[in-house]
Symmetry: C2
Subunit: 342 residues, 2 copies
């Protein structure tokens, strides 16, 4: 398996990306292709105390870099030689099995859609992060790529999330919930009401296991395996978990810093607190899959360190092994039929 | 000051409501009017070991009760003798200065709008809870009353939230942020883009202190004093904080339950952990103001215990003392002018 990585994307590129890639190549035994400025990558190697590329790691040169200021919609034309676009081209042409970037989310989504293309019949690609819950983790689809959605988009998101949970996460009959402001079927805006009806029909056809509306409060408690949302409210859900976890982690820290005794308590609980912090931390989970693209593309967090990149590589490997693209293709057709009958 | 309380609303009515009301009358020195079935209220008194109404507490009889199954839109016609409707009538007619209910949110909003009426010029009443943050608390307006909103609604929410922060919370120039999926002005759906432009103009006119978009991640960190949102995404924000806090509180509990040493650590940190739990707990904050109604109406949480009711009474007292209705009236006119000039 060959995993392509954008060496130049993210706040800590290229150093953290190069280190994470090398770690992943050693740990997972896959071939890694670092896409980016050869000189900068070699400099990072030197900084890591290496004078040559380790076994399993190679470089594909790309002279340009996508910046956070670039307009996502025009990045393909404006930056054809960027590490992101070159990497996606390699993916499309068979030069690798998956692509990972910690660069601009909007640019990655737009360029992946144009270069690698969506699965036939899928109207929008969507971001699908795993969020930490009491019982493990839950997939959230969408979380910001598509601020405005139609019921058709949401039904396709549900389908893609359910497939990912089955094929990649190995869940037998993942529970799919529609993010809403109440559990009753009539709740929400017309978007939720229409989507609820369509998901009910999709479930009747055996396409997925729809368990109804899910309130935001029940998501971190692990009520469902897949949360379906428009990109706006999905983004609010995701970032509120992040902010609340950050707030509470700092509160726990303060509790332990009160006096000599609480500092002793901190030592006793060190392992548990670290485990909690890691569970609530996106870096342990890896990146976010762009579902709906015809080959696996992973968006790593912009502030990814080497550990986050290593996790994103593991996720890319699982996505390749899951091979959900073929089934998504046939299910997309079934959903189109369902919508046509409306 | 006379505070009217719906004795029959909420999961633990009337016992918890009666106890909270008695506690509040003693603690805050205000007159409390318990509205509801006289017999049930007296039975609660007996259960509390009292054989008569304490000083400062009286009963206004209402024979019926609004249930969670009642259609909010028709509750005024269907349940004219309910404790909720009778209490709101007393408020409208000057029989009290504020009304508190832990009953159905939708019914309270609908009945308060019809019986007590909105402030002239205000298009929608909105729920405005205080959410816990690193720096204290932040007002969230709206959090679910209005799932679908227009830019005009959101600008009025911003105005009401800002006024409440000034008049009731005593903040000099509260920072108002628009909940969005990015900090840049062009982010979000057309609703956010148009609202951003209007809020910028309102700020230029000196009506409020608009600090731009705020991402959900920064809300628990205390980035702004007032978060403006449509009811759908505001509800997602509020309930995600609740769910994440619940998840992390149970994780902290587990850390302390590992072994004899961690149990010792739990004893050492008991006070701090309790303080954290209380900070993240809605019951410490009290209820949620319905802003835009011409007199103070407080929605207490459905699962309110006596402590929550006591907090809601304190909040109602502060709202009465703040006297924001008059200023809201004149500012609503200024916003109408602003919108007309568009």
């Amino acid at each position: 398996m060959r995993i392509l990585i954008d060496a130049m994307g993210g706040d800590h590129a290229p150093e953290a990306i190069v280190k994470g890639a090398i770690d992943a190549a050693a740990e997972f035994g896959v071939q890694i292709v670092l896409v980016g400025r050869g000189e900068a990558i070699l400099k990072s190697l030197t900084a890591l105390g290496l004078d040559t590329l380790p076994k399993g790691v190679e470089v594909a040169n790309a002279d340009d870099v996508v910046t956070m200021e670039d307009d996502p919609a025009t990045v393909l034309r404006a930056r054809p030689d960027s590490s992101m676009v070159v990497g996606l081209r390699l993916l499309a042409e068979g030069g690798g099995d998956a692509f990972i970037s910690a660069g601009s989310t909007g640019a990655l989504l737009s360029a992946a859609t144009l270069v690698v293309k969506r699965v036939k019949g899928i109207r929008r690609a969507a971001m699908c992060p795993e969020i930490p819950t009491k019982t493990g983790s839950t997939l959230l689809i969408d979380c910001g790529a598509n601020a405005e959605c139609t019921p058709e988009f949401l039904v396709q998101f549900a389908l893609m999330g359910s497939l990912y949970a089955r094929k990649v996460q190995g869940k037998a009959a993942p529970k799919v919930g529609l993010l809403n402001i109440g559990s009753e079927p009539g709740k929400g805006t017309p978007l939720q009401k229409e989507t609820y009806a369509l998901l009910t029909k999709a479930a009747e056809l055996g396409l997925l296991h729809f368990t109804g509306n899910v309130e935001a409060r029940d998501v971190p408690l692990g009520a469902v395996d897949v949360v379906v949302a428009d990109g706006f409210s999905g983004n609010v859900l995701l970032k509120t978990i992040e902010g609340t976890a950050s707030l509470m982690t700092s509160m726990v820290k303060e509790i332990f810093l009160q006096n000599a005794l609480t500092k002793l308590a901190a030592l006793i609980c060190r392992k548990g607190v670290l485990a909690m912090k890691n569970k609530m931390d996106y870096r342990e989970v890896g990146g976010t899959m762009l579902l709906g693209i015809s080959k696996p593309v992973v968006k790593a967090h912009g502030s990814s360190d080497a550990r986050a990149i290593r996790s994103a590589v593991r996720q890319a490997i699982e996505a390749v092994n899951g091979g959900m693209t073929e089934e998504l293709h046939s299910q997309a057709a079934a959903v189109s039929d369902l919508l046509k009958r409306q």
